[in-house]
């Protein structure tokens, strides 16, 4: 945070401040406008709702990840946890919607609790602790599923969670909005949230100010685990199966989304809204690439797609970081 200390905002930048650091939002709006103009069916109800139905999983995970990152930590286990929770939810799905939901979410929270305990009690760095859970949760997923996808109960209500609608909105989206609102309130209006920010900013200071740093951290990892668990529940419900091998690389998607949204990995700052923008932006590039292929004009070669995704990420973070840098000078 070398820059922060010397940052003194002038009245000029105070006016522009709301606009600064919004590189991701601007990129998102541009991309949507471009795609809506260029592709037929892009803004169709079907495309929009199925886009969010799928990306709600990443949005959920990014909500938890934002909390973790705000404390200066990181959670690499979310992808494995989602896979594990999807298996557990699938196994519990014959007992009804609620059973599946709770089983999956709580299993996730439990892994989060273990992460939190390892980090606070054993003093293992978050990166390593959650790397452990990244491996361990995958092991549990494979063990519980006997290494094969687990069908959810097709006749019960459990599949509604992922495939149904509520008030015209896909249920995963409703769930995400609820968690997002909860997260926003937590972050802004509760001690838990404010302490989380403080810890990421200066952990020693937070300790000396008399906070219970460890329990806040514990809470943050439990929350992240819970949300990853929820993502797993959606995964099982939406695709009809618990999937022990799913979720590979989701942690990077979530981290990238959070950072693209403008949150610093060094902690102390973070905005859930921006994280959502980041995740949606990163998800949208896949959707847009698929539509672009459908134009049949410059059918993008298979391997160039990865290059394009990387370059796209590059452009967005460069935009974002130069704005942040300007903000800081």
């Amino acid at each position: 945070m070398a820059v922060a200390q010397r940052s003194r905002t002038s009245s000029w930048s105070a006016v522009l401040k709301p606009l600064l650091g919004q590189g991701a939002l601007i990129a998102l709006l541009l991309l949507v406008a471009f795609a809506a103009f260029r592709y037929e069916g892009f803004l169709s109800a079907y495309n929009v709702s199925s886009f969010f139905r799928y990306n709600s999983m990443f949005m959920l995970i990014a909500i938890g990840m934002t909390f973790v990152i705000v404390t200066g930590g990181i959670d690499l286990s979310v992808g494995s946890v989602a896979a594990m929770s999807s298996v557990i939810a699938a196994l519990a799905s014959p007992y009804g919607l609620l059973a599946g939901l709770l089983a999956g979410a709580l299993a996730g929270a439990l892994v989060g609790l273990i992460n939190g305990l390892v980090i606070t009690r054993l003093r293992v760095e978050p990166f390593v602790a959650t790397l452990g859970a990244f491996l361990g949760a995958r092991g549990i997923a494979q063990l519980a599923s006997r290494q094969n996808a687990v069908s959810v109960d097709q006749n019960g209500t459990f599949t509604k969670l992922g495939q149904g609608d509520f008030l015209g909105l896909p249920i995963p989206v409703v769930l995400t909005l609820v968690m997002l609102a909860t997260g926003m309130v937590l972050l802004r209006y509760t001690r838990f949230g404010r302490y989380a920010l403080s810890i990421g900013d200066n952990e020693d200071a937070a300790r000396l100010m008399g906070f219970n740093v460890d329990s806040v951290k514990l809470g943050v990892y439990v929350f992240s685990g819970l949300l990853a668990g929820l993502a797993g529940v959606i995964l099982a419900s939406q695709f009809g199966a618990g999937q022990p091998v799913e979720g590979v690389g989701w942690e990077l998607t979530a981290i990238a989304g959070v950072v693209v949204g403008g949150t610093l990995l060094t902690g102390g700052r973070g905005s859930l809204g921006n994280s959502m923008v980041g995740v949606i932006l990163l998800g949208l590039i896949f959707n847009v690439l698929n539509f672009e292929n459908g134009k049949g004009i410059i059918s993008i070669d298979v391997f160039w797609q990865n290059v394009i995704r990387g370059v796209f990420l590059l452009v967005v973070v460069v935009m974002q970081s130069s704005r942040l840098a300007r903000d800081n000078h």
Binding site: S44, A149, V150, Q238, G240, Q243, N290
Partner: protein, 302 residues
Amino acid sequence: QGGALPKLAVKPKYRVCFNQSEMDNPWRLAQTKSMQDEAKRLGWTLIFTNANGSAAKQAADVRSCIAQRVDAIFLTPREEKPLTPVVLEAKRAGIPLFVIDRKVDEKVAKPGQDFVTFIGSDFYQEGQRAAEWLVKETGGKAKIIELQGSTGSSPAIDRQKGFADYIKKYPGIQIVASQTGNFTRDEGRKVMEALIQAHPEATAVYAHNDEMALGAITALETAGRKPGKDITIVSIDGQKSALDAIIAGKLGATVECNPRFGVKAFQTLKDYAAGKKVAARLVNEDRFFDKTNAKQMLASAF
């Protein structure tokens, strides 16, 4: 799910989707190439998507094809169960869908009813054919190291099961170690290096695909063994480099699992559009390669 299969009009050219599951091995590359080549030959528009190994992403890809209202969808599902819901979604959206290579959950989405047809090989049978050859070749006496495919993938599951079921009847045949090599040459090699160390008594190797078998050969040679002489190797896929290894006397045999779906898949679509009767399952007739035919077949392998 009720309702008939969506109809498909006869057109000179179609706009179709091909939803690939991953692009990380020669088999998948050959499969994709065959689809692209055929589309190019016919002048159709092929929307290619790559799920990078994620079933959920693949489902989202299928949906983006539905959103684009393509004429038809070719889905080569990463996994059975997670892709089943979108197969039904395509039907609801009135888009005919063809499943190729791996299956979807046919208890929920039935071929010929919910989607047009399944075109592919029978992985279980592949495992059985490999076992059959190995039993014959070793005279019913072998200590086997098994290199499994990616944990949880349907070819790995079925090939293991088919093989295991077949050798049950032969008490002289036993599997002394079985670990995943993730369908890749590098991991196949590393795993074999360790396993042959711990199980020098092994006399045979069963690899779920050729890549791992080729890795195993390297490992065995480094360990001072003579693949093809003091250790018998059988695998699945039938790719060119595997046939080369058969010719060199290192690999014993390989069961073909042909990735070239292009011609067959597109022809089936045309047949379907023309109103011809399309069977609910079109199982590939796969060949079997060993030293008796490897040389002749080399040119036609992928």
